[in-house]
Point group: C2
Chain length 181, copies 2
DNA sequence: CAAACCATGTAACCAGTTACATGATTAC
DNA sequence: GTAATCATGTAACTGGTTACATGGTTTG
């Protein structure tokens, strides 16, 4: 029973062999935009994946007390990843603290509330601008089948999400202003 | 150090006294759209909130081996909730399994992938239609300061989110169709 | 030679889920 | 009377975070 984190690791490894350290870096950027994990979790998961025969490694001489291990997908690992990709995602409960605050926002001081949403708006506008720069660097979507299609399609999702968030923050600020201080 | 779940409970209690059972129901609908918890977690959290003096309860005779406890906010609880509402939300790591699958989608069979996104599209269209019906029932936003403002504003966020998701699924399907197979 | 980076691992803790356990009240 | 609902709690487990622990390699 491979966990979602396990598949996240397999998905990175499908693009080329990596050390645990490299995987941790990938789990910050770009995979961190939709799935994250610290290095301690990654090393533990790699041991499980290895026990299940989904990854293997070559030990190399390198830094640290244990040297380094370069992990790669096995044939079984690739097959498991391929099968997982098109299966419907397990529904996870939503958890959005800003929306929860919004639910209780009728209790808040209007000035402080406007400040909260103005800050959130600025943050999402900044992220959006960053994604737009990234998108421009692509110059159009790569074809499905190209690994870069995965990067582009997730970026496109991020663009849509940030736009939605920006619009919602602006809508909130309008509502909060029109009702006076 | 009250947890976010603690504030979710306080936010519900701010609208009126409730039993743990009632709180669990609220954590399914409507709060469940942005924060969820099972009843076991809620009872445990209520004990902590009580130890911190943020809630109190009246024991009543009722069903079950322990009777029932009707919880209410204390003055401290209301103050803590008010202070929390306008503080910036703690950044949580994103975890979106569908986007992770998308990242690995270059490996997938095109037909199965189209099926995945068609199903997701149908699901989000259905949710969107439901939210639109709810929105129509409001007949415009209540003023901030009205508890119903909280409900309306979170609903508006949900509407935007579902629209974004619908658009992204459609974009994916277009990309996947134009590339043949 | 010092700091930053590369590299792997364990342990303790916290949050959240699922399963177990009990039993009164209400509606049919 | 029986089933659904109301009602509260504990225990075991899983996933994830933070802190602890070690030490080699590279760059300035």
């Amino acid at each position: 029973m491979t966990s979602t984190l396990g598949f996240a690791i397999l998905a990175v490894l499908a693009r080329g062999e990596r050390t645990g350290y490299d995987l941790a870096a990938a789990m910050r950027t770009p995979v961190g935009y939709f799935w994250t994990a610290g290095h301690s979790q990654i090393h533990a998961e790699l041991q499980k994946l290895r026990a299940d025969g989904l990854v293997g490694f070559e030990a190399e001489h390198g830094p640290g007390p244990q040297g380094k291990k370069v992990y790669h997908l096995t044939a079984d690992g690739l097959a498991a990843l391929r099968a997982w990709v098109t299966e419907p995602p397990r529904a996870r409960p939503e958890r959005d603290e800003l929306v929860l605050k919004t639910y209780a926002s009728w209790l808040a001081e209007p000035g402080l509330l406007r400040r909260l949403f103005a800050d959130q708006l600025a943050m999402h506008e900044e992220r959006l601008a960053g994604y737009e720069r990234e998108e421009a660097a692509f110059g159009g979507p790569p074809p499905p089948g190209d690994p870069r299609f995965g990067n582009y399609a997730t970026l496109w999702c991020g663009l849509g999400y940030e736009r939605h968030r920006v619009e919602w923050c602006r809508w909130m600020l309008e509502r909060l202003s029109s009702a006076g201080a």
